[in-house]
Each structure stands twice: as C-alpha cells, then as structure tokens.
Amino acid sequence: MEIKDISRLYEIVEKNQITTNKLDLICYSLDLAPLPESLLKSYGMISPDVVVRPKNTQELSQIVAFANQRDIPITPRGAATTAAGGAIPIEGGIVLDLCSLNKVLEFNEEDQYVRVETGLEFQRLIDWLEAKGWQLGAYPSSAPSATIGGYLGAGAGAGVGIPKYGNIGDQIISLKVVLADGRIVQTSPGESWLFIGSEGTLGVIGEIALRVFKKGKRKFYLFGFDSLYAGINALTELIKLRPYFISFLDKGFVTFLNEVGASRLPLKELTVPLVIEGSEQELERDEKKVNEICSAATRYREKLAIEEWHHRFKVGLSFKSLGPSILVQELRVPLVKLEEVLREIKSMLAEERWGIESLASDNNTIVLVVYILADERNKADYFKKFAYIQKFGNLEIDYNSTPFGIGLHNTALMPKIHTEEALQVMRSLKGYLDPKNILNPSKTTQIRVPGLMAASSMKMMGIIPEVVEFGLESASYMPLSLTRLGLKMMGGKLK
C-alpha cells in the first residue's frame, strides 16, 4: 500500500480506529494456529499494511469501496479463532478488524429476532438474551471470543443448540452485506446462504438479523460409557431426541483434563455431556427416553453435569500446557461412519498423545475436534505432527465428509472435495462479485500452497520431517518473485 492510501483511510475513519503499530501488524498476521514463520513466508505472505476498525456498516462500506478503487487486498477478521488461516492477510493490504462492530441494534420480541452488528461476541449476546428469558438457537464452543459474523463466515456448522434448532444459517432472517464495490445489500433468508461459509471472499457481513427462541427449562446429564460401541449407539439415539447440547469426550481427552486438574472424571471410553431443553412436558418425555437409552451407562451426579456445561467453552484448551502446543484438526463425519473413523484415527495416531472432543452438527453429522499434543519448539517433531493434518484431510474425503473451514491451508483440498464444474461455478461467482479480487484473496476457491520447494517437501511430511523444515526454511529465504513463480506452478494465484 502506498502512504497516500493510508492517509486516505484517515479521512474515512478517525485516528483511533486505525493502526500501523508494528506490534499490531504482528498480531493481525496470525490466527489461532502457531504457524512457523517459515511456513507463512513460503506462502509468499506479505505483512498487512494497516488495520482498520470501522464504527458502522456505512464506514465499512466506504473502506471496502476505497480498497476496491485502489486494488488493495482486504482481509475481514472476526475473532480469528479458526486455525485454517481464513483470517490471515496473506496478500497484505488492509485487515478489517470487525470486532469494533459489536452492538445489539434491535430486539423484536414479537417477531422473535435480534439484529446485531457482525463483530458482537456470542457470549455477550447469550448473556444479554438469557437475562431476558431468551436464547440463541446455535452458537460455537468458542463463544467468549467468536463473533456472530465470524461464525457465519467460517461456515457455522457445529456447536451448542444445533441438534435442536439446526444450523444457525437457517436462523438468519437477513444479512446486510458489503459487496466488493462498497454497495450494501440486504439478503433474504435463501440469499444469505451465498455468504455463509464464504469466509469473506464474496462480501463482508456487516449486520445480522437472527432468530431467537424462548428459553425453556433445561436438564443436565453426564454419562460414562465403557465401550466405544455402546457409547456411539447411545449418542446416535440421543441426537435423535434433538437435545440442546450434546458432545463426547474420549478417554484421551478426559486423561488430559484430569492431568491438569480441570476435572476428576473416571476414565471411560466415551464421556457424554447432554443438555435437554424445552417445556415441562417435553422434558418429562425426553427424560424417560434418555434413561432408556443410557440404562447401561454410568450416570454422574447432576452437579458434575452442570459443571461440565459451565466449562463447555473452556475444556478444549484447558490442558494446553501439557503440549504446550496443540495441533487441532476438526473433521465433520457422518454419524454412521463415526466408529470407523474413530478406529482409523486411533491407529493413525498410535505414536502420539491425543484426545478427541466432539460437537454435534447438523444433518446427522458430528464434528470431531482432535487434539494432538506437540511442542512447536521441537521443529522436527512438530513438522512430523503437521503431516497428520494432511492425512486428516484425506480421511475426511475418504469418509465422504467435508473439512471444517477451508481458509488458507485447506485450499489444496478443494479439487478433491468438489467437482471441476462446481469449482468453476464458484470461481465465476467470485469473479462476478469481486472482479478485482480484493476480498480475502487467496482463500477458499483460490488454491494457494506454500512455495515450490516447501510444497514438494510437504509431500514428504511424515517421512523425513527434517526435509520439510529445510524446504520451508529455504522457501522463506527465496526471493518473493521466485516464491510466486512457485505458486503459479502449483496452481496458486499470481498477482
């Protein structure tokens, strides 16, 4: 970006809404994953030039229009709590920090919806609504941080509430979206799906009108299953009851929790927290069925079940000090394939310390969050573990599942997930809505892989980790032009 472009931004927003502070630029170059710098460099990453926090959708639109006019890449960012690289501003330019758009704009009890700005954290909205006797139909397990717009942009497929109320995408009444040229459009429910899961590549979500539900009574359970088979059978049946929350923790996961003192649960093959919700009659009916389904399981005291519910946003990271790095892979698996996939993972990770937590998703799928303990300071070992991530990608495809978020790192999987025709449609859509390719470039449909040497060595991942490290390191010292040439050869985008 040129200096005059940054000066122009200062005319659009106030001084305290912009930063070029060197430390900020470091923070806004990353998402949740502790990526080796060499890997980012080998992607040909350029540091962002500036971070802007718009105050309202109008300002957001002005910034996007300006960027479009001047061909400046824009990366919209919520809380950056995914690990797929969707929020990494790989081509530099402007990072749009949307956390500044965090107001509740309207609450309509009669028509049962709430209209909010895109950057509002789920936790704040949940607390606000529940104090009034209302609740959300779906929210992610990173609610204290995740923003409404970010969840929608990233695909919004798993979390609390979904087994009962379905995907949050179906609860959207309308979105206000800023298109690449700065126009603001308001979507109808069907049209909203165009932007859900598009990771900010087709437009920037500014406002969301979202259905809300009367908060019912809740009942909390926690079960332990001695066999995987029994556990999965029960899980499948319990999901049919459409609970408000259901998850499972495998033995490895509970071991981790116990090790750091975050719980003191017995080690069972599967531990299943469950929350049912509804009217008195509904609860009574479901309670009977729950007892039938779980008759052979160990039922823990309600106090423990409630604790589990209160810790639902924290469990996933609570044992991170054991790594102290954790490699996280999320897989969306059809319920019928669950047992097979779990066994496959077990054999794949035989040499590692790992644990699994699940989240219920829609359409009879379940999202597995696999945590592998690692130490990023031990590079050879870390790269070896990185190789699992790629294997997981293939695992998903073999079991007819989809990766949970494409972002940057999963773009190479796109041709495996979609047919060439479908990809062509997606690309034409991108070309039509964002002809100058300024909106979160190099993401989703635009396949981008690390530099040539790195990419070829990545194929050897798991075989000779040192080679990978060498490849990444050398790629990071390659002149940018060469890296970009590498990108072109690998099917990446060349500006």
Binding site: L23, C27, P34, A131, S321, P324
Partner: protein, 383 residues
C-alpha cells in the same frame, strides 16, 4: 525476571482471545497489541529472536505498561495464564534497563522521596489524626491508613476512626511513621524501592507489637496480604465492619431508600476474593437497594483506575462505560472499596456526562449507624 514463567505462558497461550472479553484496556483501545493473546504473540517473536527489541522499543514499553493488572484475563483464560505477575516482572526488567516511561519518572521519584504519590511532606502524613490516637502506641490492632486517606481523602480515615472509636475498638495508627505500602512502586516495576518501603513498615509493625493490620484501601490490603511477611493478619475494613455487624456491635437504623451499586474493585475482588462482605454491609442498611452490573464479582470489568497516572486519556473512558451502565440501571450512588476506583469513577462520570454520586464505603456508612446509648467501656478482646 522470571523468564521461565513468561516462556511457559507464551507457549501455553492458545490465542483463543477469551482474554479480551473483560479486558478494560482492550475493550477501549480495540487493537490486539493490548490483548494478552496479542502480547503473547509478539513476546514469542521476541523470545525466538524474530523480533528485534530495539526496532519497536517504544511500542513494547507502551504495551507492557498499558495493562491495569486487573486479572480479568486470568478468570477468562482456559489455560489459566496469570498475566498480571508476568507483566509486573516485565516492568521490573524494563526498569532495570532504565526504560521506565518518561511520564512515570516524576511519579516514581515522588514515591521514593516522599513515600506517597501526592508529593506531600512526610511530616504531614499524620496531621489529620485525632489527638487520642497520637502518638502511636503498642497495640495488637493497627489501622494502616494509606497515602490516599492520609493526604487526599481524610474523610475516609476520619470515618474509620470514628466508627471504631464509637464502639470502643482498640487500635493504633502509625501517623508520620507510616510509609507508602509499596503498591504504586510495585506496579511501576520498581521492586527494589518498593521493598525498602515494605521493610520500613514491617519494622514499625514489630516495634508496636502489631498482630492484625486493617486498612480501608484495597490496594494497600492486597499489597499487605501478598507482598509482606506472613507474620501479620491483614483485614480490609469491609471484613471488619461485616464482622462487627454480625456480632451486633455495628447497627444501622437510618434508611437509605435508593439504588446503590457496589463496584468490585479488582484489588479487593479478583486479587483477594472478597465479594460478599461489602454487600453484606450495604444490605444491613434499611431501604438500600443493591444493584449489580451485568458482569460482577470475579467477572467485574476493571474501572481502569490503575492507568490514571500512565494513560490519563484512557482511564476515565473505561470508567465512563461502567458509569453509563450503572446510570441506565437507575443507580444513584456507586460505592467502591478503593480510592483509586472512586477517583476514576468521578472522572468517568464527567466523560459520560452522568450525574452520579461516588463514595468509599467508610465515608458512606457513618450516618446510618445507630447511636450507642452510652460509650461502651473498652472490651477485653477485640473481634
């Protein structure tokens, strides 16, 4: 510096960003460099030699001092990272390199020279004290006055003394022999200078045979509890008053039919886990309606008070948000356990353009106390 602790935290941080939810500074500034996860990201680069300290010295120093030390992030953090002690250690490191920010140097110098942040003469520290408490005498109980009550808010100190004198509670006051507790110097990272003040105070405690120390200042209370030898029992006046109420020695018989907010100052709340005693005291006042903020007790958002000196533009804006919420809830009076909160709320009310009264608990309660029929003779043992 406890380098190992920083290293551990840097690699344990999962970048989930929960730390931002209740961070007063992040919620005001908005950029990631002031969030704990953001700091962990660039500290990691520093430790790994991928970021040159000198190339962003000013930015780093600012980021390390732009933390109120309120520990809200620790409550939210899934991995339990305690950033506040790390931040203090980093400040100590900066101080040792001569990098205390310029605007804080005069504060530091005053604290060391006068042993109070107000620049008042040491010889006037005890000039407010009623004559029956001069000079200091041997006593099991010591009222540790604090710089603020001694120099700036005498009313707080006079109230504490009057309440306790009226019920015949025996205690002593150090007067001019009291030093600053050390809290402000500790927060600046001036550990050595703070230790000197601490040692001088401890000498005096021993000299007068003190066993229990009570103070109305939340900052002193936290410092006396965590940074002093464990030989002394330390109480905050809210604990003392709560106990006296429970024992029937302190009775309120006048009404205050208004909505009151008790604000959980961090030094008393998150740092010391005291949440119920102050509320118990206020519930004992007839007619008083206690109002809670949406996020209270361990989730209370810090008022930003600790940043009044270092970031004077920032601190009142943080307080203004809380004042606005209180005002929307119909609160007419905010009560704090901490003079820093109180002063910052007053500025915050100005920023928010809201009419709201702010007081410290000892200042507020005397007018509701039931007059004793006749002064009780001093008792054998104090509570």
């Amino acid at each position: 510096m406890k380098r190992s602790e920083l290293v551990e935290a840097v690699y344990t941080c999962g970048s989930c960003g929960y730390c931002r939810f209740g961070c007063p500074v992040y919620q005001q500034v908005g950029f990631e460099r002031v969030s704990v996860r953001g700091r962990m990201q660039f500290f990691k680069k520093l430790l790994e030699g991928k970021l040159d300290f000198d190339s962003c010295k000013d930015e780093l120093v600012e980021a390390i001092y732009q933390c109120a030390g309120c520990e809200n992030c620790t409550v939210e953090c899934p991995t339990g990272i305690e950033f506040s002690p790390i931040c203090e250690a980093l400040r100590e490191d900066l101080v040792n390199r001569g990098l205390l920010p310029e605007n804080l140097k005069p504060v530091r110098d005053t604290l060391i020279e006068k042993s109070n942040p107000y620049g008042e003469a040491r010889e006037t520290r005890g000039s407010w004290i009623p004559k029956q408490h001069v000079p200091p005498k041997e006593s099991k109980y010591l009222y540790f006055v604090s710089c603020t009550a001694a120099f700036s808010l005498n009313r707080v100190a006079r109230s504490v003394v009057k309440i306790l004198d009226d019920i015949g509670f025996e205690f002593t006051i150090l007067g001019n022999e009291e030093e600053c507790c050390g809290s402000p110097l500790l927060r600046l990272g001036e550990m050595e200078a703070a230790k000197e003040q601490i040692n001088k105070n401890v000498e005096k405690f021993d000299k007068y045979g003190v066993e229990t120390i009570f103070t109305a200042c939340a900052g002193c209370y936290r410092t006396l509890s965590h940074y002093y030898p464990e030989d002394f029992k330390v109480l905050h006046t809210v604990q003392l008053f709560d106990k006296l109420i429970k024992e029937g020695k302190l009775v309120f018989d006048k009404e205050f039919p208004k909505k009151v907010l008790y604000f959980d100052g961090c030094d008393l709340g998150r740092h010391m886990d005291i949440y119920e005693e102050p509320r118990n005291i206020l519930r004992a006042i007839p007619g008083l309606e206690l109002v809670e903020l949406d996020y209270n007790r361990e989730k209370a958002v810090c008022c930003g008070g600790p940043l009044m000196g270092s970031f004077p533009d920032l601190a009142p804006n943080i307080a203004a948000e809380i004042v606005k919420e209180a005002s929307e809830k119909g609160v007419e009076l905010i009560l704090t356990p901490c003079a820093t909160c109180m002063l910052n709320f007053k500025s915050g009310a100005g920023v928010a353009d809201v009419q709201i009264d702010v007081q410290d608990i000892p200042m507020f309660i005397p007018k509701f106390i039931k007059k004793q029929e006749k002064p009780k003779p001093p008792e054998e043992s104090n509570p």
